[in-house]
Amino acid sequence: MATEKQITKIGNDFFKTRFVAHHFATADQEFDACKFGMWMFLLTEIMLFGGLFVAWVVYRLWYPETFKHCAQLMDWKLGLVNTCILILSSLTMSLAIRAVKMSDKKTAVKMMLATVLCGAGFLIVKYFEYSHKFHLGIFPGANFSFDGEHYSNAHHFFSLYFVMTGTHVLHVIIGMTAILWCSYRAARGHFYKDYYTPVELTGMYWHLVELIWIFLFPMFYLIK
């Protein structure tokens, strides 16, 4: 049972007092170490997608006409909707982090749930996009077929499309799960102005997910 010392009261809200882990001297040191670790992890993510971006650039240089033609088969309107959804989700995540730093529990939880909703919206749009492609017979890998005229090596474009956007979708799902976990803990009063590291790091992850989509959108939908 929590003792009085383990409860922090800010305004009308109660929070579970966070203690610095035993191997850190100060709260700032703990926060900086966690954030540095997160940046290192995000760099590995950037390298993962960097390899895929390089693959796209190489194939784009090898088959420019194929890529131009295939990009015209993509629905830029759906891509634009998804981009706006993710930008909006980044805003709500930023406001959630802001609210946590202000010890505003209710707003933080609302903003985090709004971010998850945006993520779900992104996935729904992606579901319709993938369904349409599958309906046309456009599958990744060896099962690629297309009931209409197309350019040779179009399967390279669509394989890259499925691999890159599929990996991104996986990251969206992981991000949504992490945000849900943070919102649950925030609702229980685990985060407040003196301790918000998990929310900050999850927000960084979510912004990276948006950052990657910011480049995927022009690569597959706009560049012709």
Partner: protein
């Protein structure tokens, strides 16, 4: 007595919260740049064709359009990393970590493209036969122009192969000398 009593409470930690003005300002700019990119990709070629009578503007100026679009995307990326990910107010070591990672990613692009862009893209089977190492001389796949192929040629439909074509697309399209040099 709590097991945490000997630890410090997370106090005196000064949070750097993003202001409403900055958060909404960045969001506005991100949407503006995105719409600008769509405008450049979708509308500008049509406008050039309609008002300046540029024939096939999308293909004629595709390099310019693509550079502008990727430039817009890069600006969006800078805004997200700088303000949403808060790297402008982060510790120097975190800034250095991100910048060094970006530089190494640039090296990755540079080394790969220095190979790809300097390849002989107009290689003919005769050139490969005469100049390529022995192990590559039988390769029928070299970079070249893509060709329009009707779907009925060489693709599976409902799980059945059509007119004796194989599974592999590279094999199907071998006659057009597509693919990359191995």
């Amino acid at each position: 007595m709590s097991e945490h009593d000997h630890h410090l409470v997370e106090a005196q930690h000064e949070p750097h919260a993003i202001s409403f003005k900055a958060a909404f300002g960045v969001t506005f700019l991100l949407i503006a740049f995105t719409l600008f990119n769509v405008f450049v990709s979708v509308c500008v070629p049509h406008l050039l064709e309609k008002f300046l009578k540029v024939h096939n503007a999308a293909a004629e100026y595709s390099t310019v359009f693509n550079c502008v679009i990727m430039g817009g995307a890069t600006l969006c990326g800078v805004l997200v990393v700088g303000l949403f990910m808060h790297i402008v107010a982060d510790t120097p070591v975190n800034r250095l970590t991100f910048i060094s990672g970006t530089i190494f990613l640039g090296f990755f692009f540079l080394f790969t493209l220095s190979d790809t862009l300097t390849r002989r893209t107009q290689a003919t089977p005769e050139f490969i036969k005469d100049h390529a190492p022995a192990s590559f001389r039988n390769s029928s796949e070299i970079p070249g122009k893509a060709v329009l192929i009707p779907a009925k040629e060489g693709y599976q439909k409902n799980g059945e192969e059509i007119e004796g074509h194989g599974h592999g697309h590279d094999h199907d399209h071998g006659h057009s000398h597509e693919g990359h040099a191995h």
